[in-house]
């Protein structure tokens, strides 16, 4: 009897021990998984820093960087509230696809619909066409062949705040751009359905935003008819597999791959075909660049007199990680990482310099996502000595076009000056 009790006690003790071991193992796993989730949430997986560091850093910079939120949006850098202009924090560019919740927001006119009744919403196609069309979102989704493209949407004034001397306008840092997978209908398919009449030369695009004053020109952009029929320009009803956020132009946005975002009209509801070039403020007076000047570069002492509408995205590269003023340690392998893009010709190489541009080293490029997408570059860096290190980054496309050492124009458009990054090693 005594023997049996002893055996049971022993068995119980062993069971308890096993339970304890399993329990601690399971706690450890939960901790690990939580940690993983946290690091995913904080987007720090590829930055080479620990999630905890990143978290505290974000909290600090959050206050410094002036983060705000908006309906349907996460924490974004604040530029203006009315009309809304919000910038994507740089760390999100660690992702190949910019999340919709933090995709940059840019509106010119403050009368913006607060909601859109999708059942009554119609996209109208009129002007020099055989049949005027009035299409519902459902029509676009069911009566046309869906088309998807990955393309960079980059504001003409992105990085304007870095211009020297400063120029007035939205003071963007590098976050007035984003890469997304756009799904919708090719513009040429819609124009074909409407049937272009002879003599069509251009098409205008108007959204549901409107000015509060009658004297302010409505925001309307136009494209040449051949461009509209190139099979690349499209009308997107989805970005990254979801409906567009209201502030990114729900329900429809014009997507002009390789061209600056000023043409990517949001809340698009009217397409008009013309027999002569469209003359409107936003094509003739605004968004103009010096004509025939490489990178739209001009000298502030002798401004260009001949101007033309902004168009194709210029070659550019930038640093994503480490962020400016980061503090690194000696003897640790870091990855300097960034993105590069152009107007769709393709990035051939991205080079980095550590001696102020005297010598350049080719970085490693990730696989190309698509012609109109940005492309990621990576470069290993290990500091053997303490001190300050300054890197320069320069992209070259397949046509041999590259970035200028200095860039400026009166409007701060198309900024693509060779970027520098300074980090401290302690």
């Amino acid at each position: 009897m005594k023997g049996i009790i002893e055996k049971r006690k022993l068995l119980n003790r062993t069971r308890n021990k096993i339970r304890k071991i399993i329990f601690s193992l399971y706690l450890l796993t939960v901790k690990k998984i939580n940690h993983l989730i946290l690091s995913l949430v904080l987007l720090s997986c590829s930055s080479g820093e620990t999630p905890d560091n990143e978290k505290s850093e974000n909290k600090d910079t959050g206050k410094k960087q002036n983060l705000v939120t908006a309906d349907g949006k996460g924490a974004m850098l604040f530029l203006t509230d009315r009309p809304p202009n919000l910038e994507t924090p740089l760390r999100y560019f660690l992702y190949d696809y910019t999340p919709n919740s933090v995709f940059f927001v840019r509106w010119h006119l403050s009368e913006l619909p607060k909601e859109i009744l999708i059942d009554t919403f119609r996209l109208r196609i009129n002007g020099n066409v055989k049949t005027e069309l009035s299409l519902s979102l459902e029509d676009l989704k069911t009566k046309f062949t869906p088309y998807t493209v990955t393309a960079l949407c980059c504001c003409a004034g992105n990085a304007r705040s870095f211009c020297e001397p400063n120029v007035p306008g939205a003071q963007w840092k590098n976050g007035a751009m984003g890469n997304a997978k756009w799904t919708g209908v090719k513009l040429k398919d819609i124009l074909e359905k409407a049937g272009l009449k002879s003599g069509s030369v251009c098409v205008s695009f108007n959204g549901m935003d409107s000015p509060p004053l009658s004297g302010t020109p409505d925001f309307v952009k136009s494209l040449d008819i051949n461009h509209c029929n190139d099979g690349k320009v499209m009308i997107a009803y989805e970005m990254n597999g979801e409906s567009l956020p209201m502030l990114n132009g729900y329900p429809l946005k014009l997507v002009v791959p390789g061209w600056y975002a000023t043409y990517w009209v949001g809340m698009l509801n009217e397409i008009k075909v013309y027999t002569e070039p469209y003359k409107g403020f936003w094509m003739e007076k605004a968004y103009l660049i010096p004509k025939g000047k490489k990178d739209a570069n001009e000298n502030h002492d002798s401004l260009s007199k001949d101007m033309e509408p902004i168009n194709k995205i210029g070659v550019r590269s930038l640093f994503v990680t480490p962020e400016p003023d980061s503090i690194l340690k000696t003897g640790i392998d870091y990855e300097i990482q960034g993105i590069a893009f152009d107007g769709g010709d393709g990035i051939a190489k991205v080079e980095i310099s550590m001696d102020g541009g005297k010598t350049w080293t080719v970085t490693k490029l990730d696989a190309e996502i698509g012609k109109y997408s940005w492309r990621r570059w990576r470069h290993k860096f290990t500091a053997n000595a303490k001190g300050e290190y300054t890197f320069l980054v320069k992209a070259t496309n397949v046509k041999g076009e590259t970035q200028p050492a200095h860039h400026w124009n009166r409007s701060g458009y198309m900024r693509n000056e060779i970027e520098s990054l300074t980090v401290k090693v302690q």
């Binding site: 339970r19 399993i22 329990f23 399971y26 796993t29 939960v30 998984i33 939580n34 989730i37 946290l38 949430v41 983060l67 705000v68 939120t69 908006a70 309906d71 996460g74 924490a75 604040f78 530029l79 203006t80 509230d81 009315r82 009309p83 809304p84 919000l86 006119l109 403050s110 705040s161 400063n166 007035p168 939205a170 003071q171 000015p211 509060p212 004053l213 009658s214 004297g215 302010t216 020109p217 403020f281 007076k285 605004a286």
Partner: protein, 111 residues
Amino acid sequence: MMKLLLKIFFTFFLLLFTSCGGEKTEVQKENQELANINSMQINLPDSAGKDIFEANCLTCHSSAYIQMQPNFSRKTWEKTVEKMKKNYGAPMDSVSAVKIVNYLMAIKGKK
């Protein structure tokens, strides 16, 4: 033993689920602490002409448009105010325009 394992797996997933929920609430909380652009108060510094600036400029855009700008020369501010009048149809007379430029110079002027 099987029962025990089942229990462990059950609680494991339950905890995993609730911990995921916890992360979301944290993010939501972080967003709650941030100002929403629909309810922002931007206060520019007081100086002569602020009332004229407010009366003429804030119909179309908020004060954030000024707040985000670096300091500019009088020439640049004059051009900007002129642009608002000529291109965007801001209905201000030339006296008000001068007062607005003076105000902008006082708060965002480059000497």
